[in-house]
């Protein structure tokens, strides 16, 4: 599908939205009152949360570690990173750099019995002989299974269940070229209690289409780190891979109506994407040099080409270096591509519960805001209505929060409120209540 078609769809969707609002007003439809209340402030790059039924919230800070906010508001620092102060314990192998650090967190579905959390982090424990340059393998991202003490104040066991997700160790000749770039890092428990881990291409041309490397992939494993038995990647691929060909996925959630996985992914100065995942499918990102009509590229990575240091019409760049290349037979076409713009779609969560009224079932998508080359900054949370087949949208409504920030992490709580982490250092609880 061409970008012009996407734009037409977007305009149509906006028209539908406007008509919908008018109809809602006329017919007394349930448009909820949405309110954001800060529950924590003054944090350092909070990245992700997991909220329990009693209000307990576990959360990560990218360069500090894992903490818990108790229902009474008390914060306990549970498991820090190398150099972190004030934590009950720390992993001396855990570090942060650039976009990388302690990132996703999810609770086991049987947490009340086993007190297990799953946490993604950057680690130097498994570097081995690698990581001496950006052009060799560097296993620098892990997923830990942490078992908490009965009082949940400390970690009694740490088992690293995935130890071979690649990391970018050095600066390269790219925009956003620092170490730790494109590090993915969201972790969620999906249907059946399996663990889903999202990856980034770590500015490596070969990652997304590689059958062995986990960079640029979405991985589905059990809680010991073994491949889900039904994963169906192409022959020769690592069986832990659910989908491949990704650029930098930081958002994933599962549609309540059918359990289908959807991702939110950063685009390369064009085309942020929401994608309905297909088991074994290819998201179509392939930034290798000397590929698909492209020549050599800076540090063997064509992801920002052409003319990577200058702004240009996103559609022109997309034509040269597509986010979802239609030359792949197993391509998963995007559900939505942000009107051809890249503004930083970082996290996503389906709105669950009838308290969300006409927005129930929509995918809330956090946008960080990136305004290069004339692109509007666009910091916001979108509520996206997705078609049943997952291949298009019906409408988009901007969540009426009354403020704009870098919305990094979104997750639903059992009480059907939405929790939102911002890069500025806050975690908000966003509630929706019927207007009547």
């Amino acid at each position: 599908m061409k970008l012009s078609t996407y734009r037409s769809l977007a305009v149509s969707a906006a028209s539908v939205l406007l008509m919908g609002v008018a109809a809602a007003s006329a017919q007394g439809m349930n448009v909820p009152v949405i309110k954001a209340t800060p529950v924590l402030e003054g944090l350092e790059s909070p990245w992700d949360m997991s909220v329990h039924a009693d209000g307990t919230m576990f959360f990560t800070e990218k360069c500090k570690g894992l903490s818990m906010r108790s229902p009474d508001g008390t914060v306990t620092n549970i498991y820090g990173m190398k150099g972190s102060e004030g934590y009950s314990d720390a992993g001396e192998d855990l570090f942060c750099e650039g976009q990388a650090g302690m990132m996703g967190v999810a609770s086991d579905r049987d947490f009340d019995q086993n007190r297990r959390l799953y946490v993604a982090s950057t680690s130097d424990k498994y570097h081995g002989d690698g990581c001496k340059s950006n052009f060799e393998r560097c296993d620098g991202n892990i997923v830990m299974r942490l078992t908490l003490s009965e009082d949940m104040m400390s970690v009694v066991d740490r088992t690293d269940i995935v130890t071979d997700i690649q990391y970018k160790p050095f600066e390269s000749d790219q925009p956003f070229g620092g170490p730790g770039a494109h590090n993915g890092g969201r972790v969620r428990i999906g249907p059946g209690g399996y663990l889903w881990i999202t990856g980034g291409d770590r500015h490596s041309g070969i990652c997304p289409q590689s059958p062995e490397l986990l960079c640029g992939k979405v991985v589905r494993v059990d809680t010991d780190g073994n491949a889900h038995p039904d994963n169906n990647p192409p022959a020769g691929f690592d069986k832990r891979i659910y989908t491949y060909g990704h650029r930098n996925v930081q958002g994933i959630d599962f549609r309540p109506s059918d359990g289908k996985a959807f991702t939110a992914e950063h685009g390369p100065w064009h085309s942020d994407e929401i994608t309905a995942l297909v088991n074994g499918g290819n998201a179509g990102w392939d930034p290798q040099q000397n590929t698909a009509g492209r020549g050599e590229c800076p540090d063997q990575y064509c992801g920002y080409e052409p003319e990577q240091m200058d702004g240009m019409d996103p559609a022109v760049r997309a034509a040269y270096m597509p986010m979802s290349d239609p030359r792949f037979d197993d391509l998963m076409p995007p559900t939505w591509n942000n009107n051809g713009w890249s503004q930083g779609t970082s996290s996503a969560a389906f709105l669950k519960g009838d308290n969300w009224g006409i927005y129930e079932g929509r995918l809330a998508t956090g946008v960080l805001g990136i305004g290069f080359g004339g692109t509007p900054i666009g910091q916001r949370i979108d509520m996206i209505s997705i078609t049943d087949d997952g291949l298009a949208i019906n409408a988009i409504t901007r969540m009426p929060l009354g403020f704009s920030k870098r919305f990094r992490g979104l997750v639903m709580a059992p009480d059907n409120s939405l929790y939102v982490a911002t890069d500025e250092g806050e975690i908000y609880q966003v509630t929706a209540t019927p207007m009547q």
């Binding site: 650039g98 925009p175 070229g177 240091m309 990136i370 305004g371 500025e424 250092g425």
Partner: protein, 107 residues
Amino acid sequence: MPKIIGAMSLAAVLFCASGAVAGDAAAGDARYHETCHACHGPAGKGASSYPKISGNPIEYTREKLMAYRAGERFGPNSALMIMMAKPLSDEEIENLAVYLKDAKYEP
């Protein structure tokens, strides 16, 4: 009255001739919110992998922005800053430097 106006005009001419530009914090605040805040966060507090840029001496921020504008690289995100600094005028740089010196984030 003509003498006063004449003296003021002379002062303005001398000021401009010296090359000095007095920074305007309010104008710097406005300019900061056009583009800078998307990465560096409110009031230059820093956000994610983008560093804190508030609280520095005016001279420091001025020199850094002028160097980026001239295409000099220092730090892993130089390419971004070179692009962002390219369109800045001397006056905008001065305004930003003055604003960022005392900018404070209040959530």
